[in-house]
Symmetry: C2
Subunit: 351 residues, 2 copies
């Protein structure tokens, strides 16, 4: 049926996406783990609603503007923004947001806590803050359980702010270390008389090992809704579980072993995630997408390319989250039935 | 002055962009080479107007939707779409476009020519087609001068179509080979009684060697308007010639030699273009942007990172064309003066 689409286009199979959501919700339920999906992957309010209806406790966003777009039409009342919100313009918008929905954020430094404290000093409803912990991924986060305690104390002493727990963006395959780190921090903070209500971990690559970080109370996860080539490569899912595909048309077959499609880096993006090539052409393990220009993708085969101008191919991208972010609209299907086109409302926002 | 922007944001200095346009126009004028800028880089009608006013003969687009967005407000009357337009939906939109402005396209196969021929069979104004030639870049293009002749004959025999010349997306640093290829094709085609009115080459990396392909009549170029880290690395321009920068805020300084900024792959993109790291932090040669997540960029230094939460940095990205495509709006400045915000109208289009 993908012959019916104008290309390049991003297509999401809602049946697959919903099955992915349901399956991981059941896993979390069976482990008494709360699920808080990250909408950075789909940026679609309807899918967020489905996630909530399926049992998610709220959503995760990465940006103020994303959050504003996601809650615009109602139905979403609990948002964790896993980002250090910096600067008065943003902390003021955060305050406005917090008057509409339950919003919590993270912080990993006094500077961030100070900024939030100034914006919420006279707020009726205090802002819930999780202390972000660097459990080994070396992105953001305080560097030790002692530093987590220190920041927790600082938060709890500020009017308008409320210490709500710990958050980490964990390294992959390190459940034991993450558990030890967060467990130590929890013990230390509770030892100082503060409740650690929420311990939030996450990540799609380790989704089926989420229960191994037993101290965690909730799990944040984005890519699982669509899955992608990187997660198939890690053995987390199968090609059949990939809900997002890019449909492209062969626009040139310049030689017997190469062809060119109308999907380039402005649709597939250049994200490699450690993989070789720029996506998997469904049904054609012999093909490699070996080169991208902005609007061209080159398919290469060691054998006969066996494609003609006008043929369409369906590609599972390396990284679904960035591909879903490239076009204003995506196509929705259920199996072979077209559902319609939808705007990716929370994309392209400036800040 | 970049402390005044909410981040992350993409900022274009119009003074620099206009100087870039003027400088290369002067180069082309001095070599009797027509200039046809590729708007894929900026996707802004106002900059296209400036390019035309400066002496460009028309613009280049890569997509139908880009062209529609660029001509919507008038003032642009000549567009070359350097793409094989495939499928009835697109060829019909092309026909509609051709009734509004002078539009020409490329083709590198009989299949493409047939499709265009069907859409334009009864057109009053025939569609001008350039035969795309593979002069060594191995993307699209017919594989030999003889194949170019064959396709030129096919075009000229179709009612509604007009053979207008040759087009190539050339390999970098291969002026001699490109000249030989195109020269042979021109001679062959002219030997069969057809005029080769236009020979179109292009590319920013070789922009100052454009005159070396003496047979070319016009040059297509996109990145030169903004320049970027990849072109500085090739010695084509200087940091001061880079008109597009990304301004980001330091959101975390988790260790003495690393910091995290609020620009990730959803602004900077993962395009490397052979470079190490994800951009150049102006004024800080010691810093490397060594890792991107979607909304986080990691700065790493072998020495003291010397940055605080809330500091802003200004980044020259690896590849300006893809960065300009990421956000709905960009900021325009002239030196230290803010001009305003503008919508990037031709971005995010589905096809």
């Amino acid at each position: 049926m993908h012959e019916n689409f104008n290309t390049p286009c991003v297509v999401v199979d809602l049946d697959i996406a919903e099955a992915n959501i349901t399956r991981f919700q059941a896993y979390c339920d069976s482990h008494n783990l709360k699920l808080r999906p990250h909408i950075k992957t789909h940026k679609l309010p309807d899918l967020a609603q489905f996630q909530l209806k399926s049992g998610a406790v709220g959503i995760t966003c990465q940006k103020i503007s994303e959050t504003e777009a996601m809650i615009a039409n109602g139905g979403i009342s609990d948002v964790l923004i896993t980002y250090n919100i910096i600067g008065e313009a943003k902390t003021q918008r955060l305050r406005t947001l917090s008057e509409r929905v339950n919003v919590s954020v993270v912080a990993d430094s006094s500077a961030v806590v100070r900024g939030l404290g100034e914006a919420f000093a006279d707020a009726e409803k205090p802002l819930a803050i999780l202390v972000e912990c660097n459990t080994g991924a070396n992105r953001c986060g305080v560097s030790s359980p002692a530093a987590a305690l220190e920041l927790a104390l600082e938060i709890s002493q500020r009017s308008g702010l409320r210490f709500a727990g710990l958050m980490t963006y964990p390294p992959v395959g390190a459940a034991e270390e993450v558990q030890a780190w967060l467990g130590a921090a929890k013990e230390l903070i509770e030892g100082h008389g503060m409740a650690v209500s929420i311990i939030s971990s996450g990540g799609s690559p380790d989704m089926w090992q989420a229960h191994k970080v037993a101290v965690a109370t909730e799990y944040r996860i984005g890519t699982y809704v669509y899955n992608d080539r990187s997660l198939v490569a890690r053995g987390v899912c199968d090609w059949n579980d990939c809900a997002l595909t890019v449909i492209a048309t062969v626009v040139s077959v310049p030689s017997s072993n190469h062809a060119v499609i109308d999907a380039g880096s402005k649709v597939l993006t250049s994200d490699l995630l450690g993989l070789d090539g720029h996506g998997h052409v469904l049904g054609r393990v012999d093909l490699k997408i070996d080169q991208l220009s902005e609007e061209h993708g080159r398919l290469w085969s060691d054998d006969d390319i066996d494609l003609s101008v006008g043929d369409t191919v369906r590609i599972i991208p390396n990284h679904a989250c960035v591909v879903a972010n490239m076009l204003d609209h995506i196509e929705l299907v259920r199996g072979n039935s077209r559902v319609g086109s939808t705007a990716v409302v929370a994309r392209g926002q400036v800040w």
